[in-house]
């Protein structure tokens, strides 16, 4: 326990801390649901985080993964009161009246602001979905749970939608 030992260790520790402090805080969201309103929540929170200077990662799995199919981002039912499509139609109309930005545009914004979208390859396997079926320019990586864990352990905020 000499003085030289402790002073040698300190700069490395400080460097690590400085590195960690300069990186923005991250949010990681598992998008498990494919419901219309829940996909909206994922993108609104993701975009909000990016706008506030955070990093954001969305991990699409199970029903959420289906929404990454070409042109299908807004095809999910409402999570409640879907009423065979009537509920969704009403909500969409209200959203249009209030000039709410469309999901496709929100996904575009998310990508433009540096957000990352991950596609669960196990879900793709189970559901017989190929990469060509998906909106490939939106997707950062095709991966598995290890990638989610990597993102999540670096995050200060994690959500399951």
């Amino acid at each position: 326990m000499s003085d030289t030992e402790t002073t040698a260790a300190a700069p490395a520790g400080e460097q690590e801390q400085a590195g960690a402090a300069s990186r923005p805080e991250k949010i990681t969201i598992i998008v498990h649901s494919g419901d219309f309103d829940k996909i909206y929540s994922a993108f609104i929170v993701g975009n909000g985080a990016l706008a506030m200077g955070m990093e954001a990662s969305l991990y699409f799995t199970f029903w959420g993964l289906s929404r990454l199919k070409k042109g299908k981002l807004d095809s999910g039912p409402l999570s409640k009161m879907h009423m065979l499509g009537m509920g969704k139609w009403m909500i969409k109309r209200r959203m249009k009246d209030k000039n709410v930005r469309a999901l496709q545009a929100m996904a575009r914004d998310f990508k433009d602001l540096g957000g990352k979208i991950f596609a669960c390859d196990m879900t793709m396997d189970i559901m017989g979905v190929k990469a060509e079926d998906l909106e490939q320019e939106l997707i950062e990586e095709y991966c598995a749970v290890g990638t989610y864990i990597r993102e999540a352990r670096e995050s200060v905020v994690t959500l399951f939608i």
């Binding site: 609104i44 975009n47 909000g48 990016l50 706008a51 506030m52 200077g53 209030k98 000039n99 709410v100 930005r101 929100m106 914004d109 433009d112 602001l113």
Partner: protein, 84 residues
């Protein structure tokens, strides 16, 4: 979005019009404009969404930038100026 140069300096004023836009668009468009601008530029955001009037200053602070000012007229239209 227009870019108009100030007379003598190379500082640009970046204008964002998000009147009539709702959550999270004003925040998103502000962030996009800040990313596109250079240090020294002034970003001016005009909008009508009440929550965004509170939240854009929060984002400015979180990003470590300087808020020049926030104004609002009687119709609820606000103008936020940010020093990049």
């Amino acid at each position: 979005m227009e870019r108009s140069d100030a007379e003598e300096s190379l500082v640009a004023e970046v204008k964002v019009d998000c009147r009539g836009e709702n959550c999270p668009v004003p925040l998103v468009e502000t962030r996009k404009a800040l990313r596109r601008s250079k240090p020294g530029d002034v970003v001016e955001v005009v909008g009508t969404h009440p929550s965004s009037k509170k939240e854009i200053p929060m984002a400015v602070e979180a990003l470590g930038l300087t808020l020049i000012g926030v104004e609002e007229d009687e119709s609820g239209e606000w103008t936020i100026r940010i020093q990049r």
